[in-house]
């Protein structure tokens, strides 16, 4: 359908997805704001989705794309619950710092 699509060898998008995943992991490990950490988790999920679409394209099989559809849904659910947790955390601790929630009791 799009002529450019045929020219892309699989390892370019795969390497891009690998680097994006590492950047997301860096955000999770190095940032202390819980909202940014959630965003970085989304970035990692997105990188995996890109890998699945690439492999689906290279193998000419729709299964990878179907899997991305499911992972998109789970990502949406994860953000809804995650942000609800952030709001609850901010209410009880008054902070969105990941190190603020370091105690199991009130």
């Amino acid at each position: 359908m799009i002529p450019l699509a045929v020219q892309i060898p699989a390892n370019g998008p795969l390497m891009l997805a690998a680097v994006l995943f590492t950047i997301g992991a860096a955000g999770v490990l190095l940032r202390r704001n819980i909202i940014i950490v959630l965003m970085s988790v989304e970035l990692m999920l997105n990188a995996v989705n890109l890998t699945l679409v690439t492999v689906s394209h290279a193998l000419a099989s729709l299964d990878g794309q179907i899997f991305v559809f499911f992972s998109l849904t789970v990502a949406a659910a994860e953000v809804a619950v995650g942000l609800a947790l952030v709001v609850a955390l901010h209410r009880s601790l008054g902070s969105t710092d990941v190190d603020a929630a370091s105690s199991l009791r009130d």
Partner: protein
Amino acid sequence: MMGPGPLFVIVGALALVTAVGMVLARNMVHSALFMVSHFGLTAILYLLLSAPFLAAAQVIVYAGAIMVLFLFVVMLLGDAESTLSEPIAGHRPASILALLVLGAALVTVASRGVPAAGGGALPEGFGSPGQVGEALYTRWVLPFEIVSVILLVAMVGAVVIAHFRRRAGARP
């Protein structure tokens, strides 16, 4: 093998820049805006990889729904000052070392690529809404139904977590 298309290189480079910007931005709103541009660029990559239905779903779900949720929470909670304290001594250098190892390993594996089946000849209408819908409602119909339950559970869970804590806190 032919080199990657020029459009792919440009969009991929922009996606990298926006991802780094998202992680490094001081202001949370800037991070959220970098994130939405990153997801938009990923949708273009999906188009180039012949997944037009997923590109549309990506824009609607990520750039639409998830983005609004993030911006809403950022606005609700305000822009808290980000501390740069290190809770565990040596955490940061150790993290960077681990990330370098992870990145090197992933890129090495990814650079091998995947063997292209059928010489890259894709069937007509590959990844179109019609084909994806047909696969979803025939072969993948059970996972499809389970996913709807996941969405329902997440919705109920989000309401319970964000709502009941406030009532419990207001009573004493």
